[in-house]
């Protein structure tokens, strides 16, 4: 309020707020969720969220499917980093079935998961740029997302919704072409990431847009159930890969970047730093894989004939392989009864799978603990008192993926 502000006598003009409906269709292609904002001029007084515009009833559909048919459903949760969801589901099934995977499978899984984490963070960070008007960063990094897609294609055949891996390992060994593309990625991508950082990190306009917007303290973030980069930006160093290591993450040496204020700039920086850590993990995993020699280097799945399809040449020649093939395809291999909760570090935080099995071939109850759904509740607290443009930047820096939010 400057000294030129007109002071009106008490009770002369009624002040009322404007209702602005932000969504469900809005630019910046984030997905469909709605925010009804009450604005007082340019300031947000309150925000109310409506979700469920893409509710696809995954949990109900999963009660009718055998375990391997649920993997394509998990793809479509956080579709920017679909392999992490797939691997998380396979790890949950392996925990239920008490299957131990060989080390080479674990390292291959780590490579794929870290590649998809990079792919997810690239989308989030470049779209923050697009939302604040900087389209160039998006175009630069999409080139390298195409290279990541090509690596997925070499392994599983598909780009985005990958259905990659099987219970116990992978469907095929990584080909030489896949490793060549991985080497090309490791050689070229660090320069691209540093160029992307140079565009944004100390850019006065970007810093002005993102610093101080959507800040949250560590205690409130923990109470709201935040996990993942959003929580680490608030200063809490909770990462499921370090706390409860899965898939041999304890063999790798990496650090967890944390921020201090939890605002949009910190979230952006934490994601950038996590991409550097992911590159380091992929390099370590690749070196470890190259150390396997001889028959060890051909191992790409665990030896579990009850759940992993046998090779076709064995199906045509051996009796046991034929029987296992028949039983798996017709869905007659039952799961042991029990309940298990397993979580992995997804692109947005702790993605959990709570699976209750009653001994049949499909789960009795499957519940996905979806990080986006849980932390979007805090949006009204994050944007209270901020301006409309800050509200948009906060929304895009939280990395809200509608598929994961509504499931």
């Amino acid at each position: 309020m400057s000294e030129h502000h007109i002071k009106l006598p008490e009770g002369s003009i009624e002040r009322s707020t404007t209702t602005l409906n932000l969504g469900p269709t809005h630019p910046a292609t984030h997905g469909v969720f709605q925010n009804i904002l009450e604005l007082d001029g340019e300031r947000v007084v309150s925000a109310e969220q409506t979700v469920g515009y893409i509710h696809r009833a995954f949990e109900k559909i999963a009660e009718r499917r055998p375990l391997y048919q649920i993997t394509p459903l998990t793809d479509r949760l956080n579709y920017c980093s679909a392999p992490i969801n797939n691997m998380g589901w396979h790890l949950t099934c392996e925990k239920l079935l008490r299957v131990k995977t060989p080390k080479r499978v674990d390292y291959l899984r780590v490579i794929i998961m870290e590649l998809s984490r990079i792919s997810d963070h690239l989308i989030c960070n470049s779209v923050i740029g697009v939302d604040s008007g900087a389209f160039t960063g998006f175009l630069y990094v999409m080139q390298y997302r195409e290279l990541i897609y090509e690596i997925y294609e070499e392994v599983c055949g598909s780009r985005l919704t990958t259905n990659i891996g099987r219970i116990g390992g992978f469907e095929r060994n990584f080909s030489n072409a896949a490793f060549e593309k991985l080497e090309k990625f490791l050689a070229e991508y660090p320069a691209v990431l540093s160029e992307f950082e140079k565009l944004f990190n100390r850019n006065r306009i970007f810093m002005g847009r993102t610093m101080g917007t959507g800040a949250i303290s560590a205690e409130r973030a923990l109470n709201y159930g935040f996990t993942g980069p959003n929580l680490r930006a608030a200063g809490v160093d909770y990462d499921v890969r370090v706390h409860s290591p899965y898939s041999s993450y304890e063999d790798f040496d990496f650090s967890i970047p944390i921020g201090s204020t939890g605002d949009s700039y910190d979230r952006f920086m934490v994601r950038n730093q996590e991409m550097w850590q992911s590159i380091a993990i992929i390099e370590q995993a690749y070196r470890k894989i190259q150390e396997f020699k001889g028959t060890d280097a051909e191992v790409y799945h665990a030896d579990i004939p009850e759940y992993y399809l046998p090779e076709k040449k064995d199906v045509y020649t051996k009796m046991e392989a034929l029987i296992w093939h028949f039983k798996i395809i017709m869905g007659e291999t039952d799961m042991p009864p029990g309940e298990v909760y397993h979580s992995v570090e997804g692109g947005n935080g702790e993605l959990g799978f709570y699976l209750i099995s009653d001994g049949g071939r499909s789960p009795y109850r499957l519940h996905f603990r979806r990080p986006c759904f849980i932390y979007y509740q805090a949006y009204s607290e994050l944007t209270k008192g901020s301006m409309l443009s800050d509200a948009v930047i906060t929304m895009s820096s939280l990395n809200l993926i509608a598929g994961e939010m509504d499931a």
Partner: protein, 196 residues
């Protein structure tokens, strides 16, 4: 500092005599100082090379659309440089992703806000027929609420498939008769959807 450019490392010099592509002229009679053709051909030619799409991206197909828009599978070379998000200013409604029953009225509202001539492209299996989600909350195809011109199957369709769908839309736009939108058949089609 050397830039990590993967393409165009050895650029060829432009040759204006052979290597530019120009849109073909429509059929017509030409003479000294005049050229006669059908109005619908000229209008169709202008419209099809400057379609303004509205990307109604709801889920995974939206990410493939972002890849199509990026520089690898450039979407802008087909004339769709300007993506609008306001239906009042757009020609083509590209519905990409699953439409739930909660979202159905919103798709209908966006469609109604578009001005004639308008086209609709259903990208992906979910928009075409419900996809893999045969459940109580998913609309089994957007053609239950809006008339669709082109369906692009796939889950998600590759960027090349989305471009193929867009080229078919361009064919439809280029060959559309001027009287289509006022004729009986079109009115009865709109009537079957409850749209005046």
């Amino acid at each position: 500092m050397s830039r990590p450019v993967r393409f165009n490392n050895n650029p060829i010099q432009p040759d204006i005599n052979g290597h530019i592509s120009v849109v073909d002229m429509p059929d017509g009679h030409t003479g000294e100082g005049y050229f006669v053709t059908k109005l619908s051909d000229v209008v169709g030619l202008a419209r099809k090379n400057s379609i303004w799409p509205l990307p109604f991206a709801t889920s995974c197909c939206g990410i493939e659309f972002m890849a199509t828009m990026a520089s690898h599978y450039d979407f802008a070379r087909f004339g769709a440089e300007r993506l609008g998000f306001s239906p009042r200013q757009c020609d083509l409604l590209m519905v990409m992703g699953t439409i739930a029953k909660k979202m159905g009225p919103i798709v209908k509202q966006v469609y109604l806000q578009m001005a004639e001539p308008r086209w609709v492209m259903a990208v992906g299996a979910c928009a075409s027929s419900g996809g893999i989600f045969d459940s109580y909350s998913v609309l089994q195809g957007i053609d239950q609420i809006v008339p669709v011109d082109v369906y692009v199957p796939g889950c998600p369709p590759r960027p090349e498939a989305i471009l193929d769908g867009f080229i078919r839309i361009q064919d439809l736009v280029g060959h559309e008769s001027l009287r289509r939108r006022t004729g009986e058949r079109y009115k009865s089609l709109m009537g079957s959807y409850g749209i005046q």
